[in-house]
Symmetry: C2
Subunit: 276 residues, 2 copies
């Protein structure tokens, strides 16, 4: 293991480690430490506060699964909000849905957007699309000021430390409910069940008190802790498990399929227990 | 990261790393390097040739998914063969099925059995059950000498290097077909789709030429490469996706459920492509 290696301690006593071909950029922004590195295994990779955010090789899993599950659940999504997600990957997937007229992205850190555009053009390339409005600001505040406005809201945040800490509170979910239209849907990444079981249990409990339809789905992201990532979905009207077959139109994906849409809600027993 | 850490390079340029509280045993057996360690994150862990075989904290995933998918697919499994699996975890799960009269386990390395019994009693504890026969020997040879004998065969091997190299050949699958009864089923672990896509594609192709019903299913094992592990199933008669609901009897599990049984066959698009 000679040369430069990056190690993320995903817990105090466990982590992943990978060979780094070269570092592309490193900076302490106003909000977090940002590193852009080129790894031998995963291609270029964005780190925030020394945690893997996205890599060229496996980014499609997370971005597809955040975007397509709610967008195929909603019969006619037109206005979509992304909180966080400054790398642009979720926006790229959202734009595959022709019904979407406008995507608003609110990320607190302009540097994430800037360096994603520079170093990860395959991920960030659609941030300049005319259907997209990019705002630099506090997602919590943006939500608090929005009423009855969005069809779908996606929370693509970092872990509940640092700038994202407010994005895992019941007050935030209540704000999301108000920012959504009467038949709106939201989804948030909720980490993994092996190391963050308590977080999943709490978020599920909080969201259930606000949204009549609450559920949890999962996907395999190899560079994220445990390889099993979860997403909490809250919906006012449409059930993600009751999507009719004719609603799935053809989109190009690498991970998502209409069959996986439903199967991703079928949880291992110990994970299902966290939702009850 | 002070103190003793174990790092498994899962590929040339990527791996997992974990804190080791203490080493319990280390030995070069006749077949492989064997280490038993106590880790801070995953409990006690068995390593073979420096690769994670099983850990106390996540072993249930692999063992449950190897055993219960074929055993619930077969309507009345009585005789079961395990090739490899000397740690005893798969045997423990098999014995939860009351129809099973006899389990034969054939592992080439007696030291795996010996040290699993000593250090991993929660995993290996059922190896002394009266329904179990443990043989130390070559699984390939045992298969070659068996005709029309087993209802279910499970291949719980290491990677296709070292002692397990013969267990990933078409000749071995043909032998398995002969060792099975006319309505028999077999399952083999087939690594992960991120780093071993070619292996999965080849095994699927080989097994399809021998078994009329061939499929691939997956489970999340955090200590295995990529966190997504796959299992190839070959069946002469019974389709794992056509199991009637009344066949599922109650067993205690942490990961497996009857709903997950079917959902685990729904693959991400890039994995499904490997089976076609």
């Amino acid at each position: 293991m000679s040369g430069l290696w990056f190690t993320e301690k995903q817990t105090e006593n466990f982590g992943i480690t990978m060979k780094v071909n070269r570092t592309l950029h490193t900076e302490q922004t106003d909000f977090q430490k940002l590193d852009m590195i080129e790894t031998a295994e995963w291609g270029k990779m964005l780190l925030l506060d020394n945690m893997v955010m996205t890599s060229e090789k496996d980014e499609f899993v997370y971005h597809e699964m955040v975007a397509h599950v709610p967008l195929f659940t909603h019969p006619h999504p037109q206005k979509v909000l992304v909180v966080g997600g400054g790398d642009g990957g979720v926006v790229r997937e959202i734009l595959k849905h022709p019904s979407v007229e406008k995507v608003t992205l609110v990320d607190i850190d302009s540097k994430v957007i800037e360096y994603a555009k520079q170093y990860l053009p395959n991920i960030a390339g659609e941030l300049d699309n005319e259907r997209v409005e990019v705002k630099v600001g506090d997602g919590f505040m943006h939500i608090a000021q929005s009423k009855n406005e969005y069809d779908v809201i996606m929370v693509d945040s970092t872990e509940p430390v640092g700038p994202a800490v407010n994005l895992f509170t019941k007050g935030f979910y209540a704000g999301i409910a108000q920012a959504l239209k009467d038949d709106g849907i939201f989804v948030a990444q909720t980490d993994n069940p092996w190391f963050k079981a308590d977080l999943i249990r709490e978020v599920q409990k909080d969201v259930k008190e606000i949204f009549p339809i609450t559920n949890l789905y999962h996907a395999n992201v190899p560079t994220y802790p445990s390889g099993m990532w979860t997403f909490t979905i809250g919906s006012k009207k449409y059930d993600p498990l009751q999507v009719s077959e004719d609603r799935f139109h053809e989109i190009e994906t690498i991970y998502y399929t209409k069959e996986l849409h439903k199967a991703s809600f079928v949880l291992p027993k110990f994970v299902k227990d966290l939702t009850e």
